[in-house]
């Protein structure tokens, strides 16, 4: 099982499942990360965390600890 946290920068993945619940899940989904969404991992912040993504044509940043909840393929 691969999560968004493990994706190398520059790679594109597809969301399979979001494993957390409550407000974090809602927030992640509100921002457009839903089942089947294509995500490009653009880069890591200079200190290694958070990560920058391209989702639905815009830039989004997520902490690695939150990205761990997004299961991808």
């Amino acid at each position: 099982m691969r999560t968004l946290k493990d994706v190398k920068s520059g790679d594109t993945v597809i969301v399979e499942k979001i494993s957390c619940a409550g407000s974090l899940k809602r927030r992640i989904m509100d921002m457009g990360i839903t089942k089947g969404t294509t995500i490009l991992v653009r880069k890591l912040a200079p200190l290694g965390d958070p990560i920058e993504l391209t989702v639905r044509g815009y830039e989004l940043s997520l902490r690695k600890s939150d990205a761990e909840n997004i299961i991808v393929k």
């Binding site: 974090l24 509100d30 457009g32 839903t34 639905r56 044509g57 902490r63």
Partner: protein, 816 residues
């Protein structure tokens, strides 16, 4: 007919720019208690019967953030006639997500498709006619920044409101609508401000706020639970996610049919900027340079000029319009100064020659000197010559001038230049007020109240206004161009460790100049807990007004050793880190575990009008505060400092404040400075921290002392030990800040309880730190007993462990 338009849209969609463009001046800015979410309302520029309400920027109508809750409440309680939904055309998918929720409310919606110029520049195109059909509501392409289509979109909004055109579109699949219809049957047919469909969706999503408002009875609740359960089993997902998924599916379909993306995926300007600005190697140096520029302009250069003008000019003697005539005045002053030195040297030499000088000195001070005494003196000193040493600008002896009797007589004729004679001189407010009071023959205490108490106190606070305005202008640029989000992105990792936000760096940095703008800079932090923590800890870093205290203690007690000043900064940083780690454990700061899911908006040039509005809105709030809470606080301190118990005007050392100092003194005794002077100085530090040194001067019997209090060093050395002096320093640096900063805390917390907590925490921490310094210092340096410090340390360790254990217990079920 009055029409209410509510502006809604995602953050960074250009909503505020549009609001500023279509309205005149903002008439009402409200603040919800507990959260700093502003409500703004104004009349439409072209039609005074139309009110435009600016709602906070939100991504969704979920019940999780304060902005979203405020927007929902507004829509439900006040039902606008039409919602003008601003959609960023260059980021259409995510923006339409909110649109699908707004349409559901049953309130007419008009879409302003913003940044249409950016869309065209990217080589993309949007079929607005088709989009209009798909969403069943008017879509007007606009550019808020360039002023395209603004009037048209407002007219469409007004006509839609008049015709009550409510969009009715199918967003979800048929099976979801089956569930929703079942839920709709549960909702009573009360007169509802929003559509049943929206309420049904919210109930389906398990939205507690709506569940409470609708007050369903227990039967209906169990039916609702059954419906939700069967849906969750069918979809193998929770209902909130089902709804979100369905919305995005609908949007994907709509966008694929209406938006044509340029097939050539070239890097646009924003991507190119971002490649450099958040580059792994360059990001931190670029960040450091930008922060240095902000600090340099707002605190060091331009900000200081502004603050000096306000403090020494407007609230001082006066100032020169456009600085014209300043140089001539300087020259004239110098000439006059030289003459004064000549006079002093001559008189001193006369004294050495046994000539009586006291009578002459008296006369020279008088407003209308008695010429016969002066003439007598000149006659008696015919044969005396003196040497006047004239200093250069660098303070070294420049040249010696011989002063004989004639030169002395000539020097006496010299008149002090009046600043009002050079250029256009505008007298300061204290002088104007004094003139006015004198014309009324006001009594001494009234004059003292107005001049020393009110103008002096409030003036020292308003003196910060220029600095604050400059800072807010710069912060508005950083925010509007999109860099602020990158700061959080770059710095998050470091600050998260201490329970702060990546954006906490800015308040702390600005705080080294002045805590007031520092605290106000915390505004840019969205998360309530992070913002509160930042507000509480910002003033731990020594601000420029605390530097004289450091200089006093370092000079008097530590013979200016070089470690004292840096140690003050390390103490501040240490207090911030410690507070972050400990306070984050308290349950009040655990309220909502806010995820760091943040948009990094595309870079763009900010709208100049918006920058100024931004700056003024925030500056105005500070000025208002100075007029209320700070005004009262200054008057009270003045009163205590000026009167004794039988309400006679007395010097500070016999005042009520001195007595209170005596009462407070035992409180400070454990910290090593239990004499009343130190406690009074600490209290006056609340008006402004630079008062501490001045108060010491007054209490030790000097009218005025140098900034570092060099005159009173000897007296401090008898009253303090090295240890108690450092404890005094620590307490004054960390304890409650000045009234201006307390006012800023109150303003940013928007809540009295939180303000009280902040002040108590700061003072408590200061007390503990000073206590430990005093006890351990005495134990190590003066071989006192180690028992007391060890007991107190043990108690503290128990307390902190207790806090940690409590917080771990509370989080345990969540992680399980």
């Amino acid at each position: 007919m009055n029409i209410k338009i509510a502006l809604a849209g995602n953050p960074n969609c250009g909503k505020t720019t549009l609001y500023n463009a279509i309205t005149g001046s903002t008439e009402y800015v409200g603040n919800r208690p507990g959260v700093t979410v502003e409500e703004k309302e104004a009349k439409l520029k072209w039609n005074k019967d139309v009110t435009v309400m600016d709602l906070p920027g939100i991504y969704s109508l979920s019940p999780y953030t304060s902005e979203e809750v405020v927007t929902r409440e507004y829509i439900i309680d006040k039902t606008p006639d039409v919602i003008l939904n601003i959609v960023d055309g260059s980021n259409i998918e995510r923006n339409l997500y909110l649109t699908t929720q707004l349409i559901e409310t049953g309130i007419p919606v008009v879409i302003g498709l913003n940044m249409i110029d950016v869309v065209k520049n990217n080589g993309d195109s949007v079929d607005t006619a088709k989009l209009e059909k798909k969403l069943n509501c008017p879509v007007v392409p606009i550019s808020a920044l360039k002023g395209i289509g603004l009037k048209e979109v407002c007219e469409r909004a007004i006509s839609t409101a008049k015709n009550k055109n409510i969009s009715d579109i199918k967003i979800f699949s048929e099976i979801i609508y089956d569930y929703l219809r079942q839920i709709e049957d549960l909702i009573e047919d009360r007169k509802l401000m929003v559509s049943k469909k929206w309420l049904a969706v919210k109930l389906f999503e398990n939205d507690n706020n709506i569940l409470e408002t609708l007050k369903l009875d227990s039967d209906k609740k169990s039916v609702l639970e059954k419906i939700i359960k069967s849906a969750e089993e069918k979809f193998d997902d929770d209902t909130e996610s089902i709804i979100t998924n369905e919305r995005y599916k609908f949007i994907e379909k709509t966008v694929s049919e209406t938006v044509k993306k340029n097939s050539k995926q070239k890097l646009n300007l924003s991507d190119k900027i971002d490649k450099i600005v958040t580059n792994r190697i360059l990001a931190l140096p670029i960040f450091a340079v930008i922060m240095w520029i902000v600090y340099y302009i707002s605190v060091t250069s331009l900000g200081t000029i502004g603050t000096d003008w306000a403090n020494d000019g407007v609230f001082g003697d006066g100032w020169r319009l456009l600085g014209i005539g300043g140089e001539e005045y300087e020259k004239a002053s110098k000439v006059y100064e030289t003459e004064r030195i000549k006079i002093d040297a001559f008189i001193e030499n006369a004294r050495k020659n046994g000539i009586e000088i006291d009578a002459l000195k008296e006369e020279l001070k008088a407003e209308e000197p008695n010429s016969s005494i002066i003439n007598n003196f000149i006659k008696n000193t015919k044969n005396i010559t003196a040497t006047a040493k004239i200093e250069n600008d660098d303070g070294n002896t420049g040249k010696n001038i011989n002063v004989d009797n004639d030169a002395f007589a000539a020097a006496l004729e010299a008149k002090e230049p009046n600043p009002a004679d050079y250029g256009v001189w505008i007298p300061g407010i204290p002088l104007l007020a004094e003139t006015i009071l004198d014309s009324f023959d006001a009594s001494d205490w009234v004059k003292s109240l107005v001049l020393d108490g009110i103008i002096g106190g409030v003036g020292s606070v308003l003196g910060f206004v220029p600095q604050i305005l400059i800072l807010f202008f710069l912060l508005a640029i950083l925010e509007d161009c999109g860099y602020m989000a990158r700061i959080a992105f770059i710095m998050d990792r470091i600050f998260r460790k201490f329970g702060l936000s990546g954006k906490s760096f800015i308040p702390v940095l600005i705080g080294t100049g002045c805590g007031v703008p520092g605290i106000m800079a915390s505004r840019t932090i969205e998360n309530n807990n992070d913002r509160r923590l930042t507000i509480i800890t910002t003033t731990f870093i020594p601000c420029s007004a605390k530097l004289p205290i450091i200089a006093l203690i370092a000079g008097a007690m530590f013979s200016d050793e070089s470690w004292v000043a840096p140690s003050a900064y390390f103490m501040g940083i240490g207090a911030i880190i410690l507070s972050g780690i400990i306070l984050k454990r308290l349950s009040v700061f655990k309220g909502d575990p806010a995820p760091f899911v943040m948009e990094l908006p595309a870079y763009h040039f900010p709208a100049v009008k918006g920058l100024f509005i931004h700056m003024w809105d925030r500056g105005k709030a500070f000025i208002k505060k100075a007029g209320t809470i700070i005004f009262v606080a200054c008057a009270v301190i003045w009163f205590l400092q000026t009167f004794d118990w039988s309400f006679n005007m007395v010097e500070a050392e016999e005042s009520i404040l001195a007595d209170l100092g005596n009462i407070l003194a035992p409180l400070f005794a454990p910290l090593g400075f239990g004499h009343w002077q130190a406690s009074v100085a600490t209290v006056t530090g609340l008006v402004a921290k630079e008062n501490v040194v001045g108060t010491f001067g007054v209490l030790y019997g000097f009218d005025e002392v140098a900034e570092n209090g060099a005159e009173i060093w000897g007296m401090l050395q008898t009253d303090f030990t090295v240890v108690s002096a450092y404890a005094f320093l620590a307490f004054n640096l960390l304890c409650a800040p000045c009234f201006a900063a307390i006012g800023a805390i109150r303003r940013e917390m928007a809540d009295y309880k939180w303000t009280a907590f902040a002040i108590c925490y700061q003072t408590g921490l200061a007390y503990i730190v000073a206590l430990l310094i005093n006890l351990y210092g005495n134990a190590f340096l003066f071989s006192q007993s180690f028992i007391a410090p060890i007991i107190i340390t043990a108690l503290l360790i128990v307390l902190i462990t207790f806090i940690f254990m409590c917080s771990n217990k509370k989080t345990a079920p969540k992680t399980a």
